[in-house]
Structure formats: structure tokens, C-alpha cells
Assembly symmetry: C2
Homo-oligomer: 282 residues x 2
């Protein structure tokens, strides 16, 4: 595994997310490598075809990549999705860059899923979501909150980030996305502002966002992928129904609503179909 | 009913919440009257004993009232709880004033419950929660979000309030409370600040908070208490289990954790027991 992860990291550095802005790119590299390094032994090789692993629009103004690796059959992992999207806005009015990291568990565990998303709409302005998504109705199961959110102090990274002057709370326009997030979710806007130099933004990204995201990723790997999380047979149907809704909505809100505008219908259809297949929500 | 509500309002004005600060008192009067005026015909008389309808601590530094009226047997209403608490802090370091309004539906409807809470910790600083609490796991039932939250534009009052410079988002220290709120919940801190005069705070309270709360109360009465919300027999068990958890936790977090400190164990026990009895969560 040690050998394997070094190879993956090297491959990763080689790919290098060529279009993302520097601080965003460094962070993406850092987070994807953290996942690859620690989960390589339980992840199967990517089965995504090369025209989804790397795609662009006909004009060459939009570029993207979606990589999906399934968990090995004996693990609690369903799949890990890592994607980045880059799109120049019409008329030279800037660009949008989106990085997404999903870690879904399968229904032999009820532990939370991992979500990290960076949506950068300007050189020093970014929406950040870092969360472990509950797999159950936590109102009916408050012990779930205690186990995965309170005892792990998942509210700590959120509090640390929200104390920074560049950071303010973010609410998704989608009521579903707001509802799917946990009560300790990091959901913030980071804004360098006009008067602050880019350095402040880059430092927030490199130091504070990186630290918070890696803390949550560590909790996910240690607590949620660890032993002792297997669930009873009769719980699995409920988990699969709820997970299916999360995945269907994620495709609908994240991809179906955005990819056609960015990449045109043909590329969008191809990428969406591949993700739906991997998510088993066709 | 018209006659009845006039009587109730007059009685209300007579009681007058003697200990609440002026802006808080006016708002409480306004909201409680809105409920009384519009729901009087479907609410039975209060059955709460007089020493719960009005109580104080032995030293006379804390005063409170809890009134609970059940819905008539043919209505969708389970009960309405209206309470206010006033407590001088030791050493003359200020006072705390709390107003709570709960409107619970029974399990013949799956429409949301109503919650309005004002927690005033200083002359011009207040935590405000206004929400319709979902009765279902909305991740599994996104159509529930569409029906009760999107189509009613419940996000509007929240957006209006959060635009004000005196208003900033509030997160309850309780992860359960955060989870029980809807994705359009108003959960904010209103802070007059040291340099702003009390007038600004009072205006925010009278105009903006009052307007938002009354808008949400109207939506609740028209949409949730209206016809067409009755549910199937087989859904009721699930609703009752989930409602039971909300009520149990509300008593635990709102009352059991605070009343003994404010009123001493004897008064606290009496009030808690009465609420538990009305909530059927003994």
C-alpha cells in the first residue's frame, strides 16, 4: 500500500489540475492526496472512461475531470468521487472553478458520508462546504448526533473557520442541500474583499481551509471507516433508500443543473450518465 | 368566535406580561394575540393549574408563566404552548427574558409545527428563532420541502431579516436544536450594539421581527392548519414517534436545563411535570 500510494501521489502531481487557480489547485492536490494516500488499499482502480476522466467543451473554454473509484468488496466504502471543473465565463468576465470530493459508505455501515466542495467564483472569493452527511433522520436518532458529531468535536473546525474575518456563513439556494448537511457542516463564503490583498485569501485557503478539511477527513477515515460501524441487516433497506435520494439529488443539483451550460449537452450527458451509473441511480 | 377572541385579547392585555422589557413585551402581546384571535375557536380552555400559569422563585427575582391549550378533538391541532420567563441575574448584572410559542399539530396531519422563541439576554440583544418544524425526514421526502417551504416562500422572511445590519446568524449550542429546525428557519442574533441607540433595536423588534413572525404564523395557520393535510392511518405511528422525540428534547433542552437555575428545584419540577403531562412525554 505504501508503494501504491506513492505511485498515486506521483500520478496526481503529474496531472496537476492544470486549470485551477494556484491556491485552489494546491488545496485540491492536498485533499485528494490525503484520500488517495490513506484509502488506496481499500479503493479499486478507477473504472471511469478516459473521456470522463478528462473532458472539455468544443470551444476549449471549459475543462473538467470526474474520477470515481469503488471500495473493495470487504470494505465499508461504496465509492470515492473526485472531480474538478473549470469554466471561463463569456466575455472574459472571469472564470468559475469547482472541486468536489464525495466519500460514500455502503449500507453495511450507517456512518456519515464525506463531502468537500470548493466553488470559486472569483480570484479571491469562494464558497466552501465541508461536512459529514448524516445517514439517518437525526431528530429520530439523537444518539447518532452524539456519536458522530458531538464526541468527535466536529463543530470545532466550523467554529475555527467562522471566527476568521474573511469567512461568513453560506446558505445554498437549494433547500435540499441545506437539509442534507449536518448541524456541524462548514458552509461558508470566503471573501478576500477588494481591499485585502490576494495573500490573505491564499493564506486562508492554504492554512485554515486545508486544516479544517483535513481534520474532517481524518475524523471520517478514523471514526466512520473504522471497525464497529456495521449495521443490522434490517437497517440496510432504509439506508439505501435514503442514500439513493442523496445521490439522485446530488446529480440533479450539482451536475444536471450546471454541466450543460458549461460543457454543452453532449459532454454533459456523457458525464452525467457515467456518474449516475456509478451511483446506481440511473 | 369573534366575541370569544375579543375577550381573550382583553384578558391578555390585562395580564400584560408585567416583567418583560417594553419591545419584547409588545411583541409577545402581538404574537400571542395573533394566535388567540385566529385559533380561539379550535382551542379548548387552558387546563394548566394557576401555579403554573403564574409562578416565581422564593426570592421573587424570577417570574414566569406557562399556558397550554389543547386543540379541539376535530381539529388538526394538538396543543398551543405560550410561555414567558423573566429572571434577574445575581449581583444586579442584568436580566434574562424568554418568550416561547409552540404550535403542535396532532398525528392526523403531517404539516409542520410552529416555533417562535425570543431569548433576550440584554437591553438590546436578543436571540430569535422563528420556524415551522418539519415532521418528516426531508432528505427522504424532498416533496415535503417543496410543499411547505418552497411554495410558501418561507425563505423570504429569513432573507429579509438577515439583510438588516443588526442581525447575524445564530447557531444553537445544541446540535439537536440545529437539526430540528427547517432549512428556512430564522435563527438569528439581533444586536443593537453599544453605539447604536435603543431606538434602532426597538424598531427592529417592532417592525421587522414582528412582521417576519406574523408572516410565518399566517403561513402556518393557512397552509398547515388548513384542509387537505390529513394523513394515512399507517403514517401516524412514525409521526408520533418523531413528535415525541421533539417534545421530549424540547422539555429537556429548554426547561430541565434552565428552570432549576432560575426558579429553584421545587417550582421547576412542578412546571416541567405539567408540560410533560400536556406533551404526553412523562
Amino acid at each position: 500500500a505504501r508503494q501504491g500510494s506513492t505511485l498515486v501521489s506521483m500520478k496526481r502531481r503529474d496531472k496537476d489540475f492544470p486549470f485551477l487557480p494556484p491556491a485552489h489547485r494546491a488545496l485540491t492536490l492536498d485533499l485528494f492526496s490525503a484520500i488517495d494516500d490513506r484509502l488506496d488499499s481499500v479503493l479499486l482502480p478507477s473504472t471511469v472512461p478516459s473521456d470522463v476522466l478528462r473532458f472539455q467543451n468544443p470551444q476549449g473554454t471549459a475543462h473538467g475531470s470526474v474520477e470515481i473509484r469503488s471500495g473493495s468488496p470487504t470494505s465499508l466504502l461504496d465509492l470515492v468521487l473526485q472531480s474538478w471543473l473549470h469554466c471561463k465565463l463569456p466575455g472574459g468576465s472571469g472564470e468559475i472553478n469547482i472541486t468536489t470530493l464525495f466519500g460514500f459508505l455502503n449500507s453495511t455501515s450507517h456512518a456519515p458520508h464525506l463531502l468537500v466542495e470548493l466553488i470559486q467564483g472569483g480570484p479571491s472569493s469562494l464558497v466552501l462546504v465541508i461536512d459529514l452527511l448524516p445517514r439517518k433522520d437525526v431528530v429520530l436518532h439523537p444518539d447518532y448526533l452524539d456519536e458522530f458529531y458531538l464526541e468527535t468535536n466536529l463543530d470545532g473546525p466550523r467554529q475555527d473557520l467562522e471566527r476568521l474575518p474573511q469567512v461568513s456563513p453560506y446558505r445554498s439556494p437549494s433547500l435540499f442541500i441545506r437539509s442534507v448537511l449536518s448541524p456541524t457542516a462548514v458552509a461558508v463564503t470566503i471573501n478576500g474583499g477588494k481591499e485585502v490583498d490576494a495573500l490573505a485569501f491564499e493564506e486562508v485557503m492554504a492554512r485554515h481551509v486545508g486544516e479544517a478539511a483535513k481534520k474532517v477527513i481524518s475524523i471520517w477515515i478514523e471514526k466512520c471507516l473504522g471497525a464497529g460501524q456495521r449495521v443490522l441487516e434490517e437497517e440496510r433497506d432504509g439506508l439505501e433508500r435514503r442514500d439513493g435520494m442523496i445521490k439522485r439529488k446530488a446529480v440533479e443539483i450539482d451536475l444536471v443543473a450546471n454541466l450543460p451550460k458549461m460543457f454543452g449537452p453532449e459532454v454533459a450527458d456523457r458525464v452525467v450518465a457515467q456518474v449516475q451509473k456509478a451511483f446506481r441511480v440511473v
